[in-house]
Symmetry: D2
Subunit: 374 residues, 4 copies
């Protein structure tokens, strides 16, 4: 039976729309760049649909749907514009909180990868969504992108299917603290270089932009490279979970810039220890990132949270943070070791699984609760 | 980028198709009646799609997708015929085990509710799926249908969204035992009557049919009322999880057959105890069901497994089983109390949640392992 | 440094003494018969000692000490009269709740086994111990005696060291319900016979006596065979955890009464099933035990709780309870299946370990909470 | 029945005696100084006793007894010389592994506190105890002394009863790694000062001695202040769990040396941050301790493991370790953050409880396993 009461609302017309994640502010349509970004609605009605559009050369889109904060659907979005039914047949007098969440990170290797929301369709009212009392920003790599949370341990393909924004420590931590959150994360990237020594594949260089890790004209015209509006969303806590790929660079082959011919490589000494100069470069990069983070986040507690895949860079991270604190006197910056994943908590692609993310969220939320004196 | 290598295969053309659940045997298309039913494929290729078709007046369809035995997607299927992408971009040399599973029970109240699979589309080979060494049939009510496994505790709407075949004790038990399984279950139904005293809403009356709990000409023409082909699939174990609604009938209003004017009601005495005659009727129905089960399942261990929402009918169940065993000498029939759900394990709609199903699967699989001397 | 403030108080002189477990009422000294029996004191003072006396031919005594409901010591008591220091050096202004608990069952095979408490010695006041709102009596065999809770899995000796009253489901259940409790339990005994077919080794025959499972003149003169004062302690719940040894009798050699020459044996048919007549004898014994229990416990809920080492006798137990309820109309009698021990929860001597007892206490306390409408 | 076969063996006469913990080497009697120290025997016999002697002004002794690596008894030892029965009535053909373990730290405030073992008595043979493949030394404060593992959360008295060497992360970690272990730990002490600013109450100053934290002539004559025989026991891993009290000193009143009039105080700035100079003093002390540790433990991995009661000193610890590593090139020194105790895992006296110690052992043993490439 067709529901004749459904009315289409372009996102730009919805007063009570709540948008999560860094975006350009444009709603016609809304482009979702980062994992964990999405929209939130309070719907008093029996039925709800959303109109989404996915484009890509290689990496399709995935979204999760949460109703009253519980995941109820997760699906691949193939190319094109689709109307997706979120719920139907529900009591039209009850208010349903709905979140549509991008489950996958921005794809820096696929210049045509894009997920947008155009409109919603429902037979009732869209009521205000209350603001949460805290805001947290998470900055990271594949761990924070949720790579490997989904799928069998044996999975090895690098595909969007294995990513999750939902069973991710970012969401679980934010939920535990009743906080809004945003995620800036890119698999393989680091503070100084990527795991394979690419010097541009570092998060700090693109931090000011809405989603600077992307490339291509299409993304440019979507506003991905615009300066982010930091004033509009000032976090109480910034969590930086970087360093794992910077360590990887020491163990990976060099990367050659084909344009300049220059070769990039984080080196080890013959005895297997880190080359001092290269390690120092990482520390300087980390310290500089803290300086940049403080510029854009004036009052936030900054927590360098590291350790879900081992702690080899921890001494260097402590040195970097220490140096920053000594020089600036800024004592709202600290380091937290996260629980290492174990055989029991590993997911697919040798990355932390859902249990590892739960354990991290447990420790991290406890730590942040103390920082915020909750 | 479009994959030009994709080839469509009608289900009926696939040699290595494995169908789960009671069906008519027809594959053009394959109608999925029961929760937990579906298809299984071993795919050597990079991309796979399925063509599904959903029809309904009221209750839409939901499916889950498992890859290498891990759930990776769960989605609503709205009316019409849809191509759904299962995976893409995977290593085409690896074999992926894929299961497409109906997440919702047959809807006896919606005569036009129907889920079918027409075809698959892929760019590789469909290889044989190995048979599992054991077969289990689960017979039950809303608990076994997985009502309430999904969703917030506060959810009250009776809609397909809250059902799950995946986080269900049936699947978890079967997996633990490396067994194939089928589910015959219907929310609200009992051994003698439904929770609201409807005399026809009893599972035993329809056991012989492929899916006799359905109604309407459409279902008839699909073969739902045909005799099931028991010879083709003989279970090693039959689990009967019924009795919860038969207890409910004692506490619910009478039901009047508007045609005959006859009134049906399981009665309580004034002191709150069960009316002896009515309780006896339940016991007779239970005993007769065992007789019927044995007719169709000659060698199976039959386990009456009960207790996930309390154990008030347990004495009557024991009496019924006892009486059956005494009369027949058939000692492959036993009773097992399942763990009661608790505040910590309840799901939505006051039904057992995912944790309750896990605990039940734990106990039940241990019990069955002993029965089968594993 | 010797504490010069210590004063000796014979138990009989202590107004605020609380005695746990079935005893004769005599306090000069107090004889502790059953596992879980003991004394409880509220001590406002810095130091406390107790004077205990142990006698035995074979089986030494063990006690546990709890302070503020936490076990802090467990020790063997060898032959003779000993002063044991319970605590010293504590803040003399705080009130400490102290329990001295017999960790071992009465030893029916050792007529000279005896544990007594003579006196306490302290430097402060003994204050009133508040009564708990509920009373529970547990009746059982080795499981309820706590055999195997302590010790490595590989232990096989039948010695007191492996028994525990503390990590026992009886104590954990009572604590969870804020109830006082008593234990009547004897390893190897059953409802009808012991595991090895001894007809006298049945709990029901001795239920009326303070501790009739004992033998010998010494025990007689201590009052072990006196009629228990049921009026003085009426439980709200009686838990019967028997049947495991009655099942064992079917699989054990016959027992010959050397005096009469009569042979006792619970028989199996050739196909391995229970001999009907012998199983019936068990059922009659169980039913008669319920009749006796009701005589002495007029208002208690009686729960036959069974299953920690398998459930083979469950049908017979259900029949017995059913028959009793049918005949008497007494509907405060019910059956509960307890969680079976697993490889992970087994203790020493192939008996349930501490984890198995915790799981049972979890289920049992939830069930009793409902019975008592808590 | 008295066992007539018992023979007394002075410790010094036992060939197969295994002594755990730092001792002087003397066996007539054996003085046990440190928590976790004790003796280990493999006994083929039915009965075993030990002769112990306790002396003290204030703090009585406590021991735990383990049979086949499972704790079976824990008891207070009051003043004087006592024969304690360890087991009796066991199968005399089986070999029992027995450990007698001191459950309490050396008491630096009680110059007459002393626990000694004189002899054992048994009716069988004492067989060789196999060496374990690894050796671990743990150095710490109250956390490592196991303060607060036993007892109710509300307990506040500072008494030996609340200490445990058994449910301690030291034992659990060593067991998980199949390692021998020793503990050097003292409640309230630090790297630089105690929690209350006493400059002498630092572990490093006494590290070379058998048990230099003690005082008095009695201890001197027992050899407590002798140089430890490091050559005889070289650990594979040294775990340093210090820093918690050094942090406390910043928040505690000053300490005045009454002899010199000098005042000691770790200071905070007005804004609540650490005084730079005082924090630096801690770092220097930590670095110097590493230098000393390396002198005495040539090949050990040294792990500074910290965090069970918060991580405020972690940056300083990292700086100290870093500085040491930079200067020496010794890269077998690392830092590990331990899991913080939580409301669920706290024990008595606001210290980590048994669950907190288990979690720490879990993380620490995993970390050490990697260090040792196990």
């Amino acid at each position: 039976m067709k529901n004749e009461q459904l009315t289409v609302h372009a996102l730009s017309e919805i007063d009570n729309l709540k948008v999560h994640g860094r975006t350009t502010g444009l709603l016609s349509p809304l482009t979702l760049f980062w994992t964990g970004s999405g929209i939130e609605l309070n719907v008093k009605g029996s039925e709800l649909w959303i109109e989404v559009e996915a484009q890509y050369d290689q990496y399709e889109a995935w979204i999760s749907i949460l109703i009253n904060n519980v995941p109820i659907s997760r699906l691949m979005l193939t190319e094109g514009r689709h109307w997706i039914c979120v719920f139907r047949g529900m009591n039209d007098q009850h208010i349903k909180n709905v979140r549509i969440v991008k489950d996958v990170q921005p794809m820096s290797e696929d210049a045509h990868c894009c997920l947008q929301i155009h409109a919603v369709k429902c037979d009732g009212q869209l009521l205000p969504v209350e603001d949460k009392p805290y805001k947290i920003e998470f900055i990271g790599d594949s761990i924070t992108s949720g790579e490997g949370i989904i799928g069998a341990k044996s999975e090895e393909d690098w595909i969007p299917m294995w990513f999750s924004a939902i069973h991710n420590y970012t969401r679980i931590t934010a939920d535990a603290l009743n906080a809004e959150y945003r995620v800036i994360a890119q698999s393989g990237w680091g503070v100084l270089t990527s795991w394979d020594n690419k010097p541009h594949a570092n998060i700090p260089a693109y931090y000011e932009q809405v989603c600077g890790v992307l490339t291509g004209e299409a993304n440019e015209s979507l506003g991905a490279f615009d300066e982010n509006n930091f004033a509009a969303w000032q976090p109480d806590v910034v969590v930086v979970n970087l360093g794992t790929n910077d360590n990887g660079a020491f163990y990976s082959p060099e990367w050659k810039d084909e344009t300049t011919g220059r070769i990039y490589k984080q080196r080890l000494y013959d005895d297997g220890s880190y080359n001092e100069e290269d390690l120092k470069a990482f520390e300087v990069a980390a310290e500089n990132f803290l300086i940049k983070l403080r510029i854009y986040n004036r009052n936030a507690h900054i927590v360098w949270a590291y350790g879900m895949i081992g702690i080899p860079m921890m001494p260097a991270i402590y040195r970097a943070v220490d140096s920053y604190v000594q020089k600036t006197g800024d004592n709202k910056v600290s380091v937290l070791q996260l629980p290492n994943m174990t055989e029991d908590t590993v997911g697919s692609r040798s990355h932390p699984g859902a249990l590892a993310h739960e354990r991290t969220a447990d420790e991290l939320s406890r730590y942040i609760r103390e920082l915020l004196s909750l």
